[in-house]
Symmetry: C2
């Protein structure tokens, strides 16, 4: 078993810097597009054999050091009793956004075994085959709340901020329920076999630090407290978070995932005592390969001399990305960080 990803999560020395990519299973792959021509996104998630196939394909193709469960951060909504769809080009869409006391109180507790058994079955299948560690994941409560409240992805999160500012008790009730669901979901994933988990707080970067501290951090601290008992490394990821990094690190996480909008060493100094994951701009991979290669070498130089760096993009792989660029990038990261003979 290739364990350099898990070693880096624990900030132990590694033989090479580990690398994987958010959305490493996705539309940039012709095989994925062929599957999606026959199955919806949710069908792929709900069919353990297909889910395992999709999860493992990029590991073979790219040579990455970790697999990440193929799933969607909206899946727990099935258990909460909130109908949703995933619309091509838009993302998750919730027909009736959740904005009232009655709607929040009607959310059901998540029961992972019965609600999301297909995810757990997929995890068991993948673990039977994978030769790299498997990462499970969930959306962080803030980001899931923002989808529930807005009804879809949104740049400014107007309704989310309206609830957070105008109805703080309701907001806290919603966040508490989502925190409970996230804990239950990730516990079940770990029991089924994932060896690390990542929390995607993708939209939290819309918040001012004072709002994060008041309305998000207490829930995240409870969440990370519960996850610590699971005994696997936890990665805490968000985008647009350069100003929030000290608070995110205080919330918790063995590794903080950062996007490309801050220099890696700058981010790491702000994070303090944790590992770091990131942070190449995925748009660079659409340019001639040397553009991404040069930026990747800078990131590696910037991270050098301190264990605990996991190379990744700053956000998911874009559909237009040439697969060969990803393959060459993995090779570059491994070659560039290969320890001289005699060192671990």
């Amino acid at each position: 078993m290739n364990d350099r990803f898990l070693r880096a999560c624990r900030r132990e020395p590694t033989d090479r810097t580990p690398v994987w990519f958010m959305r490493q299973a996705g539309r940039y792959q012709s095989e994925y597009r062929a599957l999606r021509a026959r199955h919806s996104m949710l069908e792929l998630c709900r069919t353990p054999e297909l889910c395992a196939q999709v999860t493992l394909l990029p590991v073979e193709q790219l040579g990455v050091d970790a697999a990440i469960l193929f799933a969607d951060i909206m899946l727990p909504l099935i258990g909460l009793g909130v109908p949703f769809d995933i619309v091509e080009g838009t993302g998750p869409v919730i027909g009736e956004p959740i904005r009232t006391d009655a709607r929040v109180d009607a959310l059901r507790p998540l029961e992972p075994e019965s609600d999301l058994g297909f995810v757990l079955e997929a995890i068991r299948l993948i673990r039977g085959e994978a030769r790299v560690p498997l990462i499970g994941f969930a959306g962080a409560p803030f980001t899931v709340a923002s989808y529930l409240i807005e009804g879809r992805g949104s740049r400014d999160l107007p309704h989310t901020k309206a609830m957070l500012h105008g109805a703080p008790a309701l907001w806290d009730r919603l966040m508490s329920r989502l925190t409970d669901a996230t804990i239950a979901y990730l516990q079940a994933q770990v029991t089924a076999g994932v060896q690390a988990v990542q929390l995607f707080d993708s939209w939290v970067g819309a918040l001012a630090p004072c709002d994060y501290a008041l309305a998000v951090m207490p829930h995240m601290q409870r969440l990370f407290g519960a996850l610590a008992a699971l005994g696997v490394p936890v990665i805490h990821f968000g985008t647009g978070t350069a100003g929030l990094l000290p608070l995110m690190a205080r919330s918790g996480g063995d590794v903080i995932g950062v996007d490309w909008r801050i220099r890696l060493s700058d981010a790491w100094a702000r994070i303090g005592d944790a590992g770091i994951q990131g942070n190449l701009d995925p748009w660079m991979l659409l340019a001639p390969f040397e553009v991404a290669a040069e930026a990747a070498r800078e990131i590696l130089a910037d991270a050098a001399g301190r264990p605990g760096h996991i190379f990744n993009l700053g956000h998911g792989v874009l559909p237009q990305t040439p697969p060969d660029h990803l393959r060459r990038l993995v090779e570059l990261v491994h070659k560039h960080t290969q320890a001289p003979p005699g060192r671990p």
Copy 2:
């Protein structure tokens, strides 16, 4: 003349913290909406009497310490020979985006007196009436380039990054021309009477620091070098820039404008030797007033003890903002920062 805004720009002590708002003339005002029912945005800009009226109205209504010229960052495109429109709810739209050598080379040099005489005439009218300093402004070259290349506002700037990464010589030629135009435009504004200028690099937060350093900073340094000769303070503003602040400060500006996604004192520490403008989340003003009031008091406490803070929002006033919240916010900032008797 109320000069506390200009004193703060020079980091001199002030009797109260000065305050103004980006987009303080806009749709949140019933008077503005009434004018816009009869005139397009561009008509208001092109008619000096209307422009002066719109510019001065919020000064009287809100009691802010500065007026900002009512204009649009796209206006110089008139001189460059690029047709555009401003579409309600979308913003500026350019029918034929500029993505080729031929299109870049066809851009005309800006001649402010003949191309934008109406702006200069409006400035002279406003200066005749205003009892607070008048701020002129321009879009920064990167942000204007991104509109030219994308054709409209864009979250990810795919075509802009494609040119910047894939055709760096073309990118630099475009940035050089826009830098020339920006210098000429702001020189003419200062000659006509503006007492400070703000550069809006609104979308620069999409860039990785290494891209900013390579593709934007050299042009910005030339721009700020030229503006220094004008003898008025320059404010350098962007959003989503928490990770770019050290580089933005190195590019130039007497005052750096920051959005709400970073704590003010944290931003100021990253900026170093300059003033700071910001940084209340404009969405907070849609909540009960006490939410914005509490956040404003935190910002003021965070900025205390060091001259050079100009209170502002982190981005423009939203159309849904209750005008009374803005008026009360100005009052709060002034009361909260009033120096004890006997101090300046």
